[in-house]
Structure formats: C-alpha cells, structure tokens
Amino acid sequence: MDLSFYPGCTAHSTAWEFITSTRAVFDVLGHNLEEIEDWNCCGGASARALDRMVGLGLPARNLFTAQEAGRTLFAPCAGCYNNLRRALKALEEGGEEADALKKTLGREWDKPIDVWSLVEFFQRPEAMEEIRNNVKKPLEGLKVVAYYGCQLVRPPKVTDATNWENPTTLESACEAAGACAIDWSYKVDCCGADMGISHGEHAGTICSNLGVKAAEAGADAIVVSCGLCHANMDMRQGEVKLPVLYITELLGEAFQCEGRDKWWKKHVIDPSGLFK
C-alpha cells in the first residue's frame, strides 16, 4: 500500500527512534511511505491552547498538500495525528472554520483524504497476518502493557475510535509479534503531556504512578505510540524504570531489522536487556 507520510518535528529529535523504526518496519511489511513535501509543524498542544484558528491552520496546510497525492496521510506521532484529524474534521464539516482555513491558505478542499495513526494501520483486516508472516524472532516471554495515552483515542469525535476506554489494537500487534500483552487499567490515562516541560515534578507524579501500575500488572516493558508519552515515561518514571518501547521498535526487534542497537541507544531507560 502507498501512504502519504507525515514524520512530525520530533522525527529529527526526541522521537528519532520512533520514526526510524517506523520506516524500517513499513519497509519489511512492504508498504511505501511517501513523505509529504515541505510539511510544517502540526502546532503541538500549544498552538490550539492559545488560538483556535492557528491551531487548525497549521495542520490544515499539511492536509492541503497531502490531498494533491490523494493517498491516506499516515502520522505515527499521536499528537500530530490528533491535530491533523482536528483540522480534517473542520474541513469535512465545511462550516465557517473550513471557509476560514481555505481562505487563509488560498486552497480548496476538493479531494478528501483520510488521516491514520498506527492504530488505523493495524486495524486493517490483513494487518496481523502481515506481521506474523514477517516475524523472524518471536518475542516469546516478553510481557508488555500497551499504553495509548490521550491523543490516539480522544476525543472519539476527532479520532473516530470505537473503543476509546479500552482499545486493544496495539496489544494485538504485540501478540502477533509473539509477545504477551497484559491487560491493565491505565492504558488511556494521560502521561502529563506538556507538564513534562513546564511542571516536570507533576509529570513525574503521574508517570511514576503509571510505572508502578505497569509493574504491578507484571509487565517487563511499556509499549507506546506517541513521542510525548515516550519522553515523559522514559525520563520521569521515578523508581520503577520499566523500559518504554515504541510499538514499531518492538516489531522491528521481532522482524530483526537492521540498526536496532542505534534505537536502543536513544533511550534513557535502556531496553536492550529485554531482548537478550
């Protein structure tokens, strides 16, 4: 399948290993990622916190670019995905805000496209079979909890998620790679988001609690699909210190992708011991 690809700003910085492992895994699965030309920042949480139209306009510019290619736009970062979908919904509704966005950017919304995260990608009926067919080293004995956080699922009117309190797609992907995905009650709790910068101690309170709960559930690692969840959980988990893996890193290990040691070196809590 050909997908348009939105790497997001953190692809070159804090989430380098997420985007690098995503490219590696998609390569193995035989799906083509076409990076959209001259993409810009989605606005993070900050643009919309200060101004609604700036918060919609930034992701909208990427949607207007992506519609030219006519392919589904794939954004692995949960924050980018959520902002892109907010703009998508505004354009689809076609009200005053859509008119304002079209006027500001001088573009028309005439070739509708969809926006996907890894969750939608894994929800395709053939996705689990694709993973199973490419596993070189089943991750037997590895016990994980999947952690979705906020932006992949909420609000459902933006994400179109159907099971927002108890999503299970990431768990299915972990199991397809041979790992054991443990059920737990904190999978859609928030990691503290931007408090990681403005109030690190509060993000620490939240993340260390999540670490304790994951350990109590019996997990060896926490699996995420968001750069911010990863940064907060990797840096502010307190005493427990469970390794935090991107779902694409877990799959990359099962597929034995090249260059994995470079991914592990980017982590604050070293995950390489999980695979010995």
Partner: protein, 175 residues
C-alpha cells in the same frame, strides 16, 4: 445565562448550561489535584459568571487537554475546548497567567513554529528558559537528551514560510 457564560459557550461551541454537576469529569481528571476547583466546579463558576476569578486561575493553565472529561461527559461538554477559548480570551484581554511557566512554554513553542515552520527544540528551550528565568530545573534531563543526540543544534526550516505567516496572522482575524 450571564453574558460571560454565553460568550464562552459561543466561542467554544460547548453547551455550558447543560452541566448538571454530576462530577464525572472531575473523577477522571489527571490534573485536578492542581486546580483550585474540580472540573465541574470550574463549569459552575462559568455559569455563575465569575470571569475574573477564572481567567486568573491556575486551572485554566494546568488543564493539559487530555480530553478525558469531555469524552466521558454525559452532556458532551468538552472542557478542553472551553479552556482553549478562555485562554484566548485571557491572552486578548492581557490577563497575566497564574502559571507563567505554562504560558512561557506555549509561547516559546508557537514562536519557534512561527520562525521556522517546524519546532526547533534547542532554541525553543533556550527561549523558554529565558522567559521563565529558571535556568536550573531539569538541566540534567536536558543534557541527557542533548548527549543522546535528541536535541539537534540546527533547525529544520519550511520553504513555504509565507503560508505559516498567513496562518499566524489568521488569529487576529477572529478577534
């Protein structure tokens, strides 16, 4: 409804008058321990027209837009959208933020996007540190990331800067 509640309802698109104080929003909020009032209390204050108190509150800036409350609200009231509308109002009316570090983070982030079209963490964090005048908190964490090569020195720039300028200017059109 009072004028303030009407205006916030309109700007945020949220049915504030439908809130019947069930408290489900507050029960699941990850940040409520840092608010003056629980989430449903914040809505009640809007219904009562306590504009000044709310615009000066910590809650306004400590909400992290996780959408847990809005997703669970039986009346489909999204507090996160209400917070967005009220922060814009506070900014337009030049009400000082009760959480300068949160304000400093958001403005540093948006300034970075306005300048390059993409976020450049290094200059954004320096800008943030200058705004908060707090140079020591989390320096260790920052250095760790820097030495892991996660905070590049050089920014990545967008060629279509003219579009970014137009988006940034579109905020003024609405007010």
């Amino acid at each position: 409804m009072n004028e303030f509640a009407k205006e916030i309802s309109e700007r945020s698109g949220q049915p504030i008058s439908s809130c019947y104080q069930c408290g489900k929003c507050s029960a699941g909020c990850p940040a409520v321990q840092w608010f003056e009032w629980p989430n449903h209390g914040f809505i009640r204050k809007i219904q009562l027209g306590a504009k000044e108190e709310l615009l000066k509150s910590h809650a306004l800036w400590m909400c992290i837009a996780c959408e847990t409350c809005g997703t669970r609200c039986p009346n489909d009231i999204h507090i996160s959208s209400i917070m967005d509308a009220m922060r814009s109002m506070a900014k337009a009316e030049k009400v000082a933020s009760a959480e300068p570090s949160v304000m400093a983070f958001h403005t540093s982030f948006v300034d970075s996007v306005a300048k390059y079209g993409r976020v450049h963490e290094m200059s954004m964090l320096v800008n943030y540190k200058l705004k908060t005048r707090d140079f020591f908190t989390d320096v260790g964490v920052g250095m760790k990331l820097f030495f892991k090569g996660k905070i590049p020195l050089k920014p990545s720039r967008v060629a279509g800067k003219a579009d970014i300028d137009k988006v940034m200017a579109s905020s003024a059109d609405k007010r």
